[in-house]
Symmetry: C2
Subunit: 505 residues, 2 copies
């Protein structure tokens, strides 16, 4: 009986079924071919004449062997344009990312867009408890939202930094939550070889595969940010190498804020973005030709009065679109983001996000990072923003669906039956289709003002608060075999002991 009544209950929230989102539209291209070639040529000059510092002895050595001009003292690496382009060309245009649940495998490339959750904010917030530093409980709840929301395709890094966990072993607990509370494609941080190596082992355990097998089945992605301008840190380089050697997906993303870490002009910032991205991508292909690699764009501008980064600006949206043009120039999958600089979930957070989402989608991106939950220029993960973003992404996904045009759908006979001044509500043409004709929102409230007021004048933000709690209340962990779980836990505890022992020694 309990089961039956439960089944009868209305679901606490409605959402679209899981699917990969396909973008059938041609991208919007702000620059013409000649302008793109100008930026290409300028970035080749940057690579040849200025170069980038690779803060890792071993990376410099590999690059030197591959023909780059490397300076032993400064670790400045310059490459010939033919060399860069030859290696960049080895990166695949399309590939698959493998999830623990094969139904959640993701195609990267072509005209598919994947939405990944917010990554790396130090704080999180919700309307009930306000803004607070990240902790492991919030971390888990955010991962569970990612699992429950069908429109979110993948983990995008720590959805909030669990600062109550020790730094040295934090990755073990984090990845374990990624692969137990969630069965979607996950993410690992390239902070040295070890963390990536542990993530590979954990992916092997939960996917029941050997390291050799996983080499051709990338099972997570890692983001490599250049330390713009023109610098790549040692730990990132070592993590990159480990991931590339084991065939995992690498997202190269220069952080080129115009006016701060790159020239104040869009043309200059994008030239630098392109130079940095291509040098790092060339390195991934030197480490392991064919490594699945994504060209990331993150160029935005700063507020020239305060130096604060701005997002979802006209400049940001244009940079997203041009970033897509550049990625296509090199036949590389493209990563962009859903970002904003607002301090709370309000109109600003929403319009800046919408400018970002449209720029990413019409820029032809294949991976939209921070697609749900990002606030404050990335310093905070908002539980309510996750729901607002999920609604916007669902709207976009439905917008991108194909449209049927045929005699049946046009329905001239229905118009004839209804006649001038009539009403279509009760017609067979309507009744046959009304249940699936339109997108049914998760968050939007279309009732009239009077009804809305009588029921408490609940704003979208407050509705989002209710919805995320309903989603968490209904959360069910994806199934995992007991033996797999035991093996995973044993691995985590063994590695924890090893790391703690080394740290204590």
């Amino acid at each position: 009986m309990a089961r039956r009544s439960r089944r009868r209950e209305k679901p606490p929230f409605k959402q679209l079924p899981w699917r990969q989102v396909v973008n059938r539209y041609s991208p919007i291209e702000p620059l013409d071919e000649e302008q793109i070639e100008q930026i290409h040529d300028a970035s080749m000059k940057v690579i040849e004449e200025l170069g980038m510092v690779f803060l890792d002895e071993d990376a410099c050595e590999s690059l030197r062997k591959a023909g780059a001009d490397t300076d032993k003292d400064t670790q400045l690496v310059r490459m010939d344009r033919d060399m860069v382009l030859e290696h960049v060309a080895k990166a695949p245009a399309e590939f698959t990312l493998y999830a623990r649940n094969p139904a959640h495998n993701l195609r990267i490339g072509g005209n598919v867009i994947n939405f990944s959750a917010v990554g790396s904010p130090p704080n999180c917030s919700d309307m009930d408890h306000g803004r607070r530093p990240g902790n492991f409980e919030d971390f888990r709840n955010l991962v569970r939202l990612v699992q429950s929301l069908n429109i979110v395709h993948m983990i995008g890094g720590h959805p909030v930094e669990p600062i109550d966990l020790p730094v040295e072993t934090r990755h073990l607990d984090s990845v374990r939550v990624f692969v137990t509370d969630c069965d979607k494609v996950f993410s690992a941080y390239a902070l040295g070889r070890e963390r990536i190596s542990d993530a590979i082992d954990m992916a092997c355990i939960v996917r029941g595969k050997t390291r050799d097998k996983i080499k051709s089945e990338p099972s997570f992605h890692t983001v490599i940010n250049t330390n713009s301008p023109l610098k790549l840190d040692g730990p990132m380089l070592r993590g990159l190498k480990e991931a590339a050697e084991w065939g995992q997906c690498i997202v190269i993303t220069p952080f080129t804020l115009a006016g701060a870490m790159s020239p104040v002009t869009l043309a200059g910032a994008l030239t630098q973005q392109n130079a940095e991205a291509l040098m790092a991508i060339a390195y991934t292909q030197i480490v392991a030709p064919g490594t699945p690699t994504i060209y990331g764009g993150f160029t935005s501008n700063v507020d020239m009065k305060t130096g604060a980064p701005a997002f979802g600006t006209p400049e940001y949206t244009r940079a997203e679109l041009i970033g897509g043009q550049l990625a296509r120039r090199y036949k590389l999958p493209y990563r962009s983001s859903n970002v904003n600089a607002s301090n709370c979930v309000d109109s600003q957070a929403t319009y800046e996000s919408m400018m970002s989402i449209w720029g990413a989608v019409m820029g032809g991106c294949h991976m939209m990072k921070h697609a749900v939950g990002w606030l404050e220029g990335g310093l905070c993960a908002s539980f309510e923003k996750i729901i607002v973003d999920a609604e916007m992404l669902q709207t976009m996904a439905e917008f991108l669906e194909p449209i049927s045009v045929d005699e049946d759908s046009i329905g001239i006979d229905a118009m004839r039956d209804v006649g001038p001044g009539g009403h279509f509500f009760g017609t067979a043409h309507t009744l046959d289709r009304y249940e699936t004709a339109f997108y049914e929102p998760m968050l939007s409230d279309w009732r009239n003002f009077e009804t809305w007021e009588e029921t408490g004048s609940v704003t979208a933000e407050r509705r989002a608060n209710k919805i995320f709690k309903a989603v968490l209340a209904e959360y069910q962990p994806p199934p995992m075999e007991a033996t797999v779980r035991e093996e995973l836990d044993a691995f985590v505890e063994q590695r924890r002991r090893e790391i703690t022992t080394i740290a204590a020694a």
Copy 2:
């Protein structure tokens, strides 16, 4: 001294200068050519076989003379497709709308987008006084905001209905405010011949032109909504005729809510929109060939649970884009709208508006109605939403600006000077450009969370409240010669007497 200190004060709000916004991008086209031809062909069948009721004897007579099949009893009018297309082809693809201030003349057509203010809500609201029925004071304040905000190109109808004014003479007071408190292109309601005729006379007075001159210089626009499905009301038809005979701009907009006033499918609703629009446009050209006419699209869907209209949905955005394809099919300027169904200024209002704005812009629209201030599916004008919308439109206008790519803007020398790991803030390349490099927002707050919290955690909506009041406090009426003002007032009072006398008789 007072003057000097005043000059030193910071402006209460920042905005972009007045300009016509040019859209350099190719439109997004959801349907292929064949599908557009299917919708065209189906709408021709609707025109030929089903027809539309023209609830006006005189209109039926003109249409009959032009070759239409008209039924005297039902006033149902059917036209041959050749006849419709022949007349539609007489409407100009581009024209100019003349404002009282020539600097505010507007090009309609080509790749120019014009933003017009919210029209016709019965209610208005702000955070200080809540939601209330429209009145003349709020009406004036809304018109003054339209005048003060450079991004708003034109009046879009009564920004709120001033229900404290008598219905019969309301248009005299309304148009007088349009042409005195504002010097942008205005709007008049086609509710019978008389109101349009009065608007023509008032346009003549303030522009210092004769009726004959104004015939070739359209000085206002009027929206003709079909009473969907397939019906056009008498007062609208008589207003349309007066406006067409005197060369004023006519915006034909069927109100085809899918599932209610049109088929539940997008293909069906758009077929009906197209049929209704083309029949009405053909009639304008039969009345006066060459009348500046705009193809309006307003197809959206209803909430199938409540029958409430929904806006800014995936269906709405697709209808906007396809509406643009159809308008281009007939070489007609295109009208779309910035609409949402939220009951307050919140995330929902903002994301639904953003879906509408992107659909309108990428649909290649030339006139975006309700571009600022619309809330509640059109039942309320919000003072705060005007500012949120103005910010979104400014962002879009800046996004559409061309991008300079040359050696100078790319700035490789700046990158060389800064070097790896350096900072661009202090470089000459930055200092030379920083003041104009980026869009400076009107509403967005990019300060960090701590500063924002210390200064009161003011949301975008509350900042919008402050901004609209600052704009109104700084409002200056555009200059008007005393003799013109006298002539205008004399006309208004004479017409008021005439109308009141007739009504009393």
